[in-house]
């Protein structure tokens, strides 16, 4: 079983991979141009909250801690989150079976799904 710090590190690494992908994949970056939204990820089993802030360009950054009124939020078990990030679990299927509890506009959340898809490839 992974320790808390190691798992936290895995989560941060997974999210940083999203940021790297946004910076290096021109096609993806184009889709996020003008997209200024904050995505809050809460992992209750790790007592960890991380914000991914999209800057409207090919840049996004992480802020540890919670925020009031994020544009989108996701409360998820850390293992499931990593499985989704690795492309091992379909996020839509996880949502439909009640294992994933997102809040926010469905279109926004759906836009983030592409990160998991690109990792699959």
């Amino acid at each position: 079983m992974l320790g808390t710090m190691a798992t936290k590190q895995e989560v941060i690494v997974a999210l940083k991979r999203w940021i790297d992908l946004l910076e290096t994949n021109a096609e993806l970056a184009d889709e996020f141009r003008g997209y200024n939204k904050t995505f809050l990820i809460t992992l209750p089993d790790m007592k960890l909250s991380v914000q991914m802030v999209f800057e409207g360009t090919n840049k996004a950054h992480l802020v540890e801690g919670t925020v009031a009124n994020p544009d989108m939020s996701l409360t998820v078990d850390s293992k499931l989150f990593l499985d989704i990030c690795r492309g091992e679990v379909d996020p839509m299927e996880a949502f439909m079976t009640g294992r994933l509890k997102p809040k926010g506009n469905m279109a926004d959340l759906q836009k983030l799904e592409v990160f998991m898809d690109l990792f699959e490839g």
Binding site: L28, D30, R33, A107, D108, Q110, V114, L118, G121
Partner: protein, 377 residues
Amino acid sequence: MQPIGYDRKRAADILQKSGIDVLVASSDVNVFYTTGLPTLHVSENPILWVLRKQYPYLALIRNDGELSLFYWMVFASLGRFSWVKDATGILSPEQAVRGVCEKLREWEIGAGKTIGLESFMPKYQSEQLIREFSGASFVDGDPMFLKMRLVKSAEEIRRIKRSTEVSETAIESMIASAHEGTTDTELLRTARRTIIDEGAEGWDHLTIGIGASDPEAPGSGAAMKRGELARLDVGAVWQGYVSDVSREVALISAPEGAEEVMDRMVAVQDFCADHIRPGVAPRDVHEGAMDFHRGLKKAVKPIITCHSMGLECEEMHMFSRMSSADIPFEENMLVDIEVWQNFRDLGLLGIEDVYHITSSGCKRITRLDREIFLKRG
């Protein structure tokens, strides 16, 4: 009088194959479908729908297709609307359910028989039926109604085609009226007026968004600006039947990249239409369409949905990201194919059109151009 879409033989086949002895319709759409009684919330006078708590409408469908109807007895024009000969007027909820119980006994529905109920049946109705027919089995009747309704008659197709024309005219009117400063409230008013002027009873939905405003909740006062998109998504109601058409309009020019998105959404819509045929599994079309899009652009995951059209806009999802129906496409189904992607932070950008599945393929009923409409004046 001939039924609009109800087919006695088809209903009998469906009930006999499923082992149901009698099916009870209690919702506005299913009572309208089986009996013609104008119970819909969009009718010339929706009084039966408005008063349904005081004077519920119920229809019984026996497994040989025979019908019996219970309705508000003040409604004196039954003969103008309904083909049901065995109709009983009621003046209270208790009287309606008592009448249904008496009819079921007359039809010898009792111990060992199977009764199908709608999942939306009011609790007092289902509880009394279960109490009075404790020896019978009760099953979910929803799938039987859907099976009856999915394949359309010539008259139903005519109504959906006309509804589609009215929706298109409403979209064209909104485009014609659009200029800098036009609000979503004004667009709504234009759409409503056009639908009524065209002779339709009303609308099923008016999903209208300007810029980043929520199209599901128009009327916010959002105003059109140059270079911004407006989504015009309309479903008129023609003699009970609905359509679902969506287009985008921009003033002067579309935002950079929007036309590429629209072209791609249209290409995916064409892929779906080219692959939908009688006998084809919906899941296969959806998976093929997702693969097809992946070949066009990897950095986006579109929302591709095909839903049956009829008395309800999303009668049944044939396929979507959430689920696929486990029945194949059939001739004379009418479906809506819609393809969307999230564009910038402006919400969904895409297209939806109504299609008729024929023996030779899937034919588009909607006639509007499939592009972003540009309003230059």
